[in-house]
Chain length 713, copies 2
């Protein structure tokens, strides 16, 4: 039997290839300020960078603190298995990122295969939005520019004594440990372990390293290299309500009226699949439920409602764009529809032109781009990895890019209209920071949702912990509290004819049987949504900072407190902007532990002053979500209005936390594709006990004003 | 941006390769009677066939009904992604197999990536024992000879109109549907879908097709091609009891004595990890718990006990064989131990020689070969796929083969001793039928366990639904009932100091607090184990048939009743041999539905005669597992003895079911490596109401005899 021979290789030609490419250090080239690129072998043509829509924000990159020397070494090797990257790890170095990872937070010690999949209940790397990007506590970050299902071994594999560090078959006694001591070895840090990344089916890859000095800056650089963070229009930060999937035009008006009458703030209504003559796959043609969509949208606009439409990428034969897209689609169908090759300009244009004409021109403000992930755990409905697309991508590459390229097709339309959008998407990937789309999942654990708000910020992603259903009044309230402290505040009533606060039980809700206490519950929910409305100027400002500097508006505590080891595993608390720390509570609890990092904090509700560096246990009344304000902050709180177009939404109470001077800059925003922002600084003079609003640039239209200054000490 | 171009491919050289290798039908070569081989591209060197231990059973293959024409076409293609196989599927064709699939039964409509993994809770193809083999209701079976993590798309992907059937990037308007009408297209069956199999990282593969005419024969041919089915020694079919993992030599004697005193049959005691000075990874050196292992084994042997030892493949530096194995091991460690390259003769010999010397020579009868699977879902302790081994295998190939090659290393020892073994293993793969090892898992759902007994039979595998713990007396009884109707009847008391029937609760058990009713529960368990002892001659005969003809001794109903659509999804009933159908009950239920295929059946317990072709609902008393005997069967029942070496275990009551003539052949078995079998036929003459025992070959030593004939009508 040939298999018994001592030293076999796959084939002589492969051995040759392997020997030609030992596991060696790679020299980086300076890509941009604080960004280095390591090219290994022959990188593939279809990658996140090669298909990128947004250019790097070079101005933003230049404005960060300069770092001259690449902070880490990268070693690469190519064999018949693909490309293998090796990056050394310090003894105590921790790792974060890899895109949306719903089941884990700190990644060191884990193995992750970055496979796109809906509803990943296992911690294997499968994700709606895997991103081949990580950041470490040594203050650098790395992006592997691949659309392959790369496998990351994160400091958990140990080579045996005498094992050579080349990526080729072993022979007796070979010892290659010394081969690694190349010029880019990270000096003086020791080498306790390493990150190994395998990129299958590739003959090379580009690796990008982003400098710190801290984790925060390393992420900022990645986000700026991606093009800077997304900036939602102000209305996108208002409250969203998705109607029942069977909703008609008249029922839309009914819901619109009810929300206004019941004084529930709402900026955006969401339309579910049945607005179409055919969905799963999709026609994109208004059904008879909506006899006059233009008039409907116009009427809703007059009541200051935007409308967000459910969208699916798979094109049904009945769709007017089917024939045009057919030659620009992959070779496998999904749910009887074709899969547009959104990597090509042709497919994007056909898709975008049609949607402008039939939706956006009449007032659709954005989309919920659903089911653009893969389906290994959910019935396997999506296109196979063996698919082939006209762009040259195969199904594996397309899955890694599909969420992004689908967003590109939608953005193309809004760019043409020169207005911004804000929407939802179920899959995303690398370089996603500039995309004004927020991730969601059908996995529905409140604890996971909180985790995802904090965790997504490591990798240029946004997450909404949307409320769909609740098992109790308490569950509804607790989920809604988390939602209003997130990038997108939405109740998704797709299976409820009436708002959940009228009746949480599905059947009773749909038959109009409301709970006895519904007005009380509604009132509690209204209060929570009102809190969102108050916070919009502050959240918007955090997003502007994301846009301009790459700093995630929602982020884990470890980014702001990297030297505090207690923050390294906290994923049930997060920073919202620079001043607000949120510690949501799930329905099972009436109290929780909250860790307050060093410094002075104030309880948002009781105004109690707390010296940080401690874990406190707080009893949490049902009407409060634990929120802590950092000393030295100005937190502007807007007047509660029913929507963001109400001029009163710009009347502020400026709350000042602490004894010293403090200030914050917030922004007027015209909502255009290239936003015109007017910096508005609220500054508190502690000596004079007086605040001041200063505006840069020309005033015009609606403007922020401060009605009251409140100093909490 | 280059990514925007209309028609891109990975690289000009790859496009060339792709175009050189369109998706075309492949001509098969006659491999063996009823076995065809399709060679596509350049198959890899490390595969199940190239590293096989057992030769095909050509005599067995010749004895099956001849089939002259290959029953199915195979199309193949090689691209930069790897090798792609396409096999057409009839409209109503169903698919079974793919190795151990704990979460699904019929496979059509699913996608499976055959990745080796412990405890696969998701139905993604991950498995302790994935096998790239399937059988369909069209009466053929297919093995893909690969050690890669192949992906199977099982009739669930539809090509879009106009999509070419070549495995290359699409261009507008291309249409390749006709390219498939090659000479091996399956004629007259229509082509509603297909099975697509992608073998990553390969430039070709061999595909083996096994003829029917039925599914049963197609599986028999695969098992015979594998080398024929395993034949356990008679003692292996007795009852097994694994002791507490902390057990000492004296405690072993204690358990051995207790079982004999309490009249609980037992042939095999299992020793857990702590027999070693170091496990996880392993030293293979007896610890001080066992001051005189040879004397212990000798004493246990004198009481007719065999001993099975827990074993792990990863070799700790303290092991006497560490230094010798070091150059014959992979480049990554597991739990601080090296991973022997069991594909090489050197590693097998070092491992086997040592185990002969220190264990087998002093009486160890077999091993439980643990943790030889992979660990994506279980903490990721195993070697990475990027590992390299001296044989030329990488970690992916080694994972697919590791269970098998580890078994090879153990078998090498028993072959040298020329005695048979029977043991346990946590991973297996292709061509496994001849391996006398039974699979198990830490997943522990009784329903899954029943499913696995039925499902494993599709792919040359054996499964034990071992009892480890129980949540109630009923759970213990119900699990034990399934265990005695399985390939290996074992209670695994690794965390219990006393048998579970004395106390099911762990803490109380270990502190010697027995349940008030323990003698009653013990008595019930004894009765169940007694049933096993009665059935050994019958089960052994079913294994002989497996050995000689490849027919699985435990198998799903659909194999015996392929034309009955009701059997197509039944995985909670199974055939044990040709005459006995088992329908286990889980603890949650007191009654269950049982489907009886057409024909006359008898209730084993009540002797009730039932006309089949119906689903019956049966109330199941706690002391009975539903068992049905086929009309026309002779079921020999042995005298209950405490072990299989008791001469009384060969005294039989021959039960005859039905009104007509009937017979069965059972076998004397000397237990040697090449078993000497004496056919012993029990024949019932219905006219004379008289039975007869006829023996072929020379009698010698202990022989079966019939004490009583009983006719059930």
């Amino acid at each position: 039997m040939s298999g018994m021979a001592g030293l076999m290789v796959a084939s002589p030609s492969l051995l040759k290839r392997i020997n030609q490419r030992p596991f060696i250090p790679v020299a980086p080239s300076d890509e941009m300020p604080g960004v280095w690129k390591f090219s290994i072998g022959e990188p593939e043509k279809i990658t996140p960078v090669s298909t990128r829509r947004f250019r790097p924000d070079t101005e933003g990159l230049k404005s960060l603190q300069p770092v001259e020397v690449c902070p880490v070494s990268v070693n690469g090797s190519v064999s018949e298995r693909g490309t293998l990257i090796r990056i050394p790890l310090k003894k105590d170095e921790l790792i974060y990122g890899l895109g949306l990872q719903l089941q884990s937070f700190q990644q060191r010690g884990l193995k992750k295969m970055l496979r796109v999949n809906a509803d990943p209940e296992i911690d294997s790397g499968d994700s709606h939005a895997p991103v081949p990007f990580f950041v470490t506590t040594s203050g650098y970050s790395v992006m592997i520019d691949t659309a392959r299902y790369a496998t990351f071994y994160l400091g958990n594999k140990k080579r045996r004594p005498g094992a050579p560090l080349s990526d080729k078959p072993l022979s007796k006694g070979e010892d290659g440990w010394n081969a690694l001591n190349g010029p880019y070895e990270r000096l003086g840090l020791g080498e306790e372990s390493d990150i190994l990344v395998e990129i299958p089916r590739s003959e090379g890859v580009d690796v990008y390293v982003f400098a710190g000095p801290g984790m925060k800056e390393a992420i900022q650089r990645y986000n700026l290299y991606s093009g800077g963070g997304a900036l939602p229009p102000r209305w996108g930060l208002g409250f969203w309500y998705r109607v029942h999937s069977d909703c008609t035009q008249d029922e839309m008006f009914g819901m619109a009226n009810e929300l206004r009458e019941r004084k529930i703030p709402c900026d955006v209504l969401g339309l579910e699949p049945h607005w179409q003559t055919h969905s799963y796959s999709s026609s994109y043609v208004w059904s008879q439920r909506f006899p006059d969509p233009a008039a409907m949208l116009s009427k809703l606009k007059s009541k200051n409602y935007r409308v967000n439409m459910w969208l699916q990428a798979f094109v049904h034969p009945s769709s007017p764009i089917y024939n045009d897209l057919l030659p620009n689609s992959g070779d496998y169908e999904v749910w009887g529809g074709i899969v547009p090759d959104f990597i090509t300009e042709e497919a994007k244009k056909i898709f975008s032109d049609y949607h402008i004409k039939t939706h956006i021109d009449i007032g659709i403000s954005g989309y919920k781009a659903d089911e653009c992930d893969n389906s290994d755990f959910t019935g396997n409905w999506s296109f196979p990895e063996i698919s082939r697309f006209p762009s040259g991508a195969d199904g594996e590459q397309m899955h890694s890019l599909f969420g992004l390229k689908y967003q590109d097709a939608v953005l193309k339309a809004y760019e043409e209209k020169q207005v911004r959008t804000y929407g939802l998407v179920r899959s995303s990937g690398a370089l996603a920071a500039p995309y004004p789309f927020v991730l969601y999942s059908d996995l529905y654990t409140h604890r996971n949702f909180i985790h995802a708000v904090a965790q997504s910020g490591f990798s240029g992603l946004l997450w909404t912990p949307e409320v769909r259903h609740a098992v109790s009044d308490t569950d509804l309230i607790r989920r809604l509290q988390t939602v209003v402290m997130s990038p997108l505040a939405m109740v998704n009533g797709w299976y409820l004819k009436n708002p959940p606060w009228k009746q949480i039980e599905r059947k009773a809700n749909n038959s109009g049987q409301f709970a006895a206490n519904w007005e009380e519950l509604e009132s509690k929910c209204r209060e929570i949504i009102n809190l969102r409305m108050k916070l919009i100027p502050y959240i918007h400002a955090a997003f502007v900072r994301y846009h301009l500097t790459g700093l995630p508006p929602f982020r884990a505590l470890v980014l702001d407190y990297p030297d505090d080891p207690k923050t390294s595993s906290i994923s049930d608390q997060y920073m919202m902007g620079d001043s607000v720390m949120v510690a949501p509570v799930t329905a099972e609890r009436t109290r929780r532990n909250v860790y307050l990092p060093a410094g002075i904090w104030y309880d948002f509700w009781t105004k109690e002053k707390i010296e940080g560096g401690v874990t406190i246990t707080v009893e949490v009344p049902i009407d409060r979500i634990p929120v802590y304000i950092k000393e030295g902050s100005v937190l502007p709180l807007a007047k509660v209005t029913l929507h963001t177009e109400d001029p009163e939404s710009r009347i502020l109470t400026a709350t000042v936390w602490g004894e010293g001077d403090a200030q914050i800059t917030i922004y007027e925003d015209d909502g255009n594709w290239n936003p015109k922002l007017i910096n508005t600084t609220l500054a508190w003079d502690s000596k004079r006990k007086k605040g001041k609003l200063e505006r840069e640039g020309k005033p015009g239209g609606l403007l922020y004003s401060v009605e009251t200054w409140e100093n909490v000490m």
